[in-house]
């Protein structure tokens, strides 16, 4: 038997020729991260603009979801780590050139703040959900009892007094979190599909759009729904522009970028991307929302659900397709 030893840098399992290390955890996290960023952003933005009583759902009610989805995202991130028990080491350093460091710190700060924001609105939340399911009422009462404890109450009261400052901190962190979900991918300079500066803004806008969809789905006021319907339409328009811009940029670039773009322009992701994300996730909901603005009666859950499906699909496709693209030949 003759033995042959081949030494090559080209066959690295899971990394080369195609990356195969990110599964469902990362795109799921990117989705819930964007959604949470949007919920926190809208609540803080409309509070600062002084429209808290008018846009009740976005400022007071919908932010309850933010900590829940952030926790989901953090669980997904932990599951992705090879050594979950060492996650805390991310908090032993601050590195401005590392997107992971940015993300870890932003999440670390926004997590408690996103819990505190709805706690400052406990009275309103109780009032809003007074007719709902027994379990929900029990949960609200439980939280209310906890925050009424002697040593917690002054802290919550302090935050209620300083809600305006809290809103400013939240809005800045929310933008960082929203952009970061895109930067996490675009900082990978070895993967041409991800390595584009448009990805950060694109993920931010897409995340804001899913957040606006969630708020309009939860809202009970026609006026608030219409406002968020219009915000969402604007965001969809920007998103479509960014997507076109993304492909224009790739096609005007080198051959590796052109090859990356071709995955979506005739390659294996063509149908799922243009039909699943662009048509079903953006254009159809945009059309339904436009019809609603013109006075047609549209059940808001349909466009909202389509946008959320489009948002999650978009992230799964970007993560999957990005791992296939590469520089080396």
């Amino acid at each position: 038997m003759t033995e042959e030893i081949i030494t090559s840098g080209r066959n690295i399992p899971f990394i080369d020729p195609v990356l195969h290390i990110w599964h469902w955890q990362i795109p799921l996290y990117l989705f819930v991260g964007g959604l949470a960023a949007a919920l926190v952003f809208f609540s803080a933005y409309f509070y600062i603009r002084g429209r808290g009583d008018e846009l009740k759902t976005s400022v007071q009610i919908a932010p309850i979801l933010a900590p829940v989805v952030i926790v989901l995202g953090l669980i997904a991130l932990l599951l992705d780590l090879r050594h979950p028990a060492y996650f805390w080491q991310l908090y032993t350093t601050i590195r401005f050139d590392s997107p992971m460091s940015w993300g870890a710190w932003t999440l670390g700060i926004i997590m408690p703040l996103s819990v505190i924001w709805p706690l400052t609105y406990m009275k309103e939340i109780k009032e809003y959900y007074k007719d709902s399911h027994k379990l929900a009422l029990w949960l609200i009462d439980l939280v209310d009892t906890v925050i009424s404890m002697a040593f917690i109450k002054p802290i919550i009261d302090w935050f209620i007094k300083n809600r305006y400052a809290l809103a400013w901190v939240n809005i800045i962190l929310a933008v960082i979190l929203g952009v970061y979900t895109g930067i996490l991918l675009s900082a990978f300079n070895a993967r041409p599909l991800w390595n584009t500066s448009i990805l950060g803004p694109l993920f931010l806008v897409s995340g804001l759009s899913t957040g606006a969809a969630t708020i309009m789905w939860m809202s009970r006021s026609v006026k608030e729904r219409l406002i968020f319907s219009r915000i969402d339409l604007l965001l969809i328009a920007v998103e479509v522009f960014f997507i076109i811009h993304l492909f224009m940029g790739f096609l005007a670039s080198g051959s590796v970028q052109i090859e990356a773009a071709e995955l979506f322009l005739g390659g294996e992701f063509t149908a799922i991307f243009w039909i699943g994300v662009v048509l079903i996730g953006l254009l159809i909901p945009a059309m339904l929302e436009t019809m609603e603005l013109f006075g047609y009666h549209i059940p808001i859950s349909i466009p909202a659900l389509l946008i959320l499906i489009g948002g999650i699909l978009f992230r799964f496709i970007m993560v999957d397709a990005g791992q296939l693209t590469r520089y080396l030949y």
């Binding site: 039909i275 603005l293 006075g295 047609y296 059940p299």
Partner: protein
């Protein structure tokens, strides 16, 4: 948006069935023109089933005559004209329902039965129709409409059989509707 008024369209107003039938004929012509294939409904669901089986139990699929062809494709079994056509039907239905003011999440049923009963019978009927369409090699649209459009005898036989047996069995299940 201040003078926004919600439109009041009569939700029960459907298109004249004869006009709709002629339009459906044009849809078949368009389908043949653009895709080179006719219309179909059950085929898309068959492809979904095939994809599911191939993904979940690839070994079983490779051993089974019915699923074998799906395992030998270079692309996903979902990549067929019918899957996209059915997706389009769904989206078109949402849009036309929205224009007609009929886009609502509800279960339509006869006054004498409950929604639950309606759903159970609809699922049962749908399953039977799915099995029947596979035995008959096509459903109302695939075998019937598209078959008749190309003057195939099987198309006429399929339509006669589907609607003929429909008339017969309707008598037994009339209580579900009146």
């Amino acid at each position: 948006m201040k003078n926004l008024k919600h439109r009041h369209t009569d939700p029960n107003k459907y298109m004249n069935p004869y006009v709709a039938g002629v339009l459906l004929g044009f849809v078949i012509i368009a389908a043949f023109f653009f895709s080179g294939e006719g219309l179909g409904g059950s085929g898309a669901f068959k492809d979904i089933v095939k994809t599911t089986v191939v993904t979940v139990a690839p070994d079983y699929a490779a051993d089974t005559h019915y699923f074998k062809s799906a395992t030998e494709l270079a692309h996903s079994p979902l990549k067929t004209w019918l899957v996209f056509e059915v997706l389009g039907i769904l989206l078109g239905g949402i849009i036309s329902g929205a224009f007609a003011g009929r886009l609502k999440l509800k279960v339509e049923h006869a006054p004498n039965i409950t929604s639950k009963k309606r759903i159970v019978y609809a699922v049962l009927g749908g399953a039977l129709f799915g099995i029947g369409s596979q035995l008959g090699r096509g459903c109302t649209s695939g075998a019937g409409l598209s078959g008749m459009a190309v003057m195939s005898v099987s198309g006429f036989v399929a339509v006669a059989a589907i609607f003929g047996s429909g008339y017969l069995f309707a008598w037994f299940f009339r209580k579900l509707w009146i």
